[in-house]
Amino acid sequence: MATIAKTENEIVEDFAMFDQWDDKYQYIIDLGKTLAPMNAEWKTDERLIKGCQSRVWLYTELKDGKVIYHADSDAIITKGIVALMVRVLSEHTPKEIVDAPLNFIEKIGLKEHLSPTRANGLLSMVKQMKLDALALTAKN
């Protein structure tokens, strides 16, 4: 399993190929479309991260000491970015996740989507992913 930093670097390299905004966004949209559908029973109000505009659901579980994330969103661009976050953080130990600086979003030019004013739920989701990992560290 690649480290979090290595996956982040892979994504940054992938995005470096896109000269045009539309290629970049098409890639994110396609990622959103291919993200494994989340188990309907996990899409409950308590797992809902409310953004003003798009909604994000996050379900976190621990398997063999590794954190597994399942996530979904009702907006496809948000879902695409969610897919990237899951790819980077899933299947790592809680400690690795809590310690990860996570700067790839900025490097691939999507920082605006993590702005608190964007109100798409992504910033809250990133925080929640780390909080869930922290809670699982405590359990561990």
Partner: protein, 414 residues
């Protein structure tokens, strides 16, 4: 749809656009198309210059000083009040209270007027297309007084169910509050008829004019309402200034609300004697440059002519609506006969946030989301809409740019 008068040949949108410095820029490498005037309108240099002139040459606190600058600033502030009076055709300048905006005006009337008249079991009637700002202050006072908030149904086309409205009027109703133009649907409500029906039973009427005053001539005496509110920033003026028109005969029924400097005749520790008129409701140093800027904004609109603005924007509304109908999978939400200012739509199967994001990448500024009308979104069972809203500076070219950008967005997202 509402038919407005012809646009005179003297009107030049190119000339208008030259008055708005902000419109010349590019966003994401594309020339900006600003279709979010419903959220806030851009400001012409006449307004920007007026604010600059105030701070450069006559900034002083008002109604308090004997010195020259204070006299000049006070006169300018009161002159702005006269401009608002004239613009709304209010009977008297003392009927114009400056507030922080429409929201503050609703809160003022909820607390200074409604609260003391409301008893348990009384009712307040609003409509299903209100902005949160014209729901929450009434809801809060109703909760406190154990009164009931009644909501007029909205028809599928976005018009008001006037039969339902009539059925809700009775002696228990202590206030009717209704938006003049819906910020989400664009529906122009029959506020004159609504006011007459309520007045027939002695019920006072509040009209939220935030989305009407930017787009059409508003005459409060013709409407006959008791209260009328609008915001400066949506009429090409500064943010943080707004208006609450209070019909003269209602002043005696208002209690004090927010008190402080500027509202009094005499103060002792035992009691205070308040001034009469609008200053009683403008506690503290008011938004002086805001009021002055608002006055210049109204001057700006009147120099073009409210009928001309209405006709120009109506033409854009019709044209953009027609072009949106070219898409099979675009659904317009709100198709009432009488519309102004905005078009809300959704692309079938696509979240409005995604559409807005791809439009933004192409330099098109629209608003997406619930537009502070969550109950209305629930009514139409949508998470939100994409809202295009017009200003006097928008062009058919802007509409064409939107359509091309939307075509691309649909291609990418479907």
């Amino acid at each position: 749809m509402n038919t407005s008068s012809q646009i005179p040949v003297t009107f030049s949108v190119t000339k208008v656009r030259a008055d708005f410095p902000i419109l010349a820029q590019s966003v994401n490498g594309k020339p900006l198309v600003y279709f979010d005037s419903g959220a806030t309108a851009q400001k012409p240099k006449q307004v920007i210059d007026a604010i600059h002139a105030y701070y450069s040459s006559y900034n002083a606190n008002i109604h308090r000083g004997v010195h020259h600058l204070s006299q000049v600033a006070s006169a300018a502030y009161e002159n702005a009040r006269k401009k608002v009076q004239k613009h709304l055709n209010a009977a008297d300048e003392n009927e114009i209270i400056f507030t922080a905006g429409t929201t503050a005006s609703v809160n003022l009337v909820a607390h200074a007027f409604l609260r003391s008249r409301l008893n348990a079991g009384d009712e307040v009637v609003i409509t299903g297309m209100e902005h949160h700002s014209n729901i929450l202050p009434w809801q809060q006072v109703c909760h406190e007084k154990k009164a009931i908030l009644k909501v007029v149904a909205v028809n599928d086309d976005g018009s008001l169910d006037t039969n339902h409205f009539a059925s809700l009027l009775n002696s228990k109703v202590k206030l009717v509050s209704c938006t003049h133009v819906s910020n989400t649907l664009g529906t122009i409500n029959p506020v004159k008829e609504i006011t007459s029906a309520a007045h027939a039973l002695g019920i006072p009427v509040f009209i939220d004019g935030a989305q009407a005053v930017p787009h059409m001539k508003v005459d409060v005496q013709e409407i006959g309402c008791d209260f009328y509110a609008f915001s400066g920033h949506k009429v090409y003026g500064p943010t943080g200034i707004g208006v609450c028109y209070v019909k003269q005969s209602r002043y005696s029924e208002m209690t004090t609300w927010q008190t402080g400097g500027g509202t009094i005749k005499t103060v002792t520790f035992e009691k205070t004697e308040y001034v009469d008129g609008p200053l009683k409701y403008e506690a503290g140093t008011p938004n002086i440059e805001g009021a002055i800027g608002l006055g210049f904004a109204l001057d700006y609109m009147n120099a073009i002519g409210m009928d001309v603005i209405a006709a120009h924007e109506h033409e854009l509304l019709v044209y953009t609506t027609q072009r949106l109908h070219e898409f099979d999978n675009v659904e317009i939400i709100g198709s009432a006969e009488q519309k102004a200012g905005v078009i809300s739509f959704n692309v079938k199967g696509v979240h409005p946030f995604d559409v807005g994001t791809i439009l933004d990448q192409q330099g098109i500024a629209v608003r997406t989301g619930h537009h502070c009308t969550q109950p209305l979104m629930q009514r139409y069972n949508v998470p939100g809409t994409v809202r295009v809203s017009f200003g006097v500076y928008n062009t058919k070219d802007d509409a064409d740019r939107l359509i091309a950008a939307l075509e691309k967005a649909i291609k990418m997202l479907s």
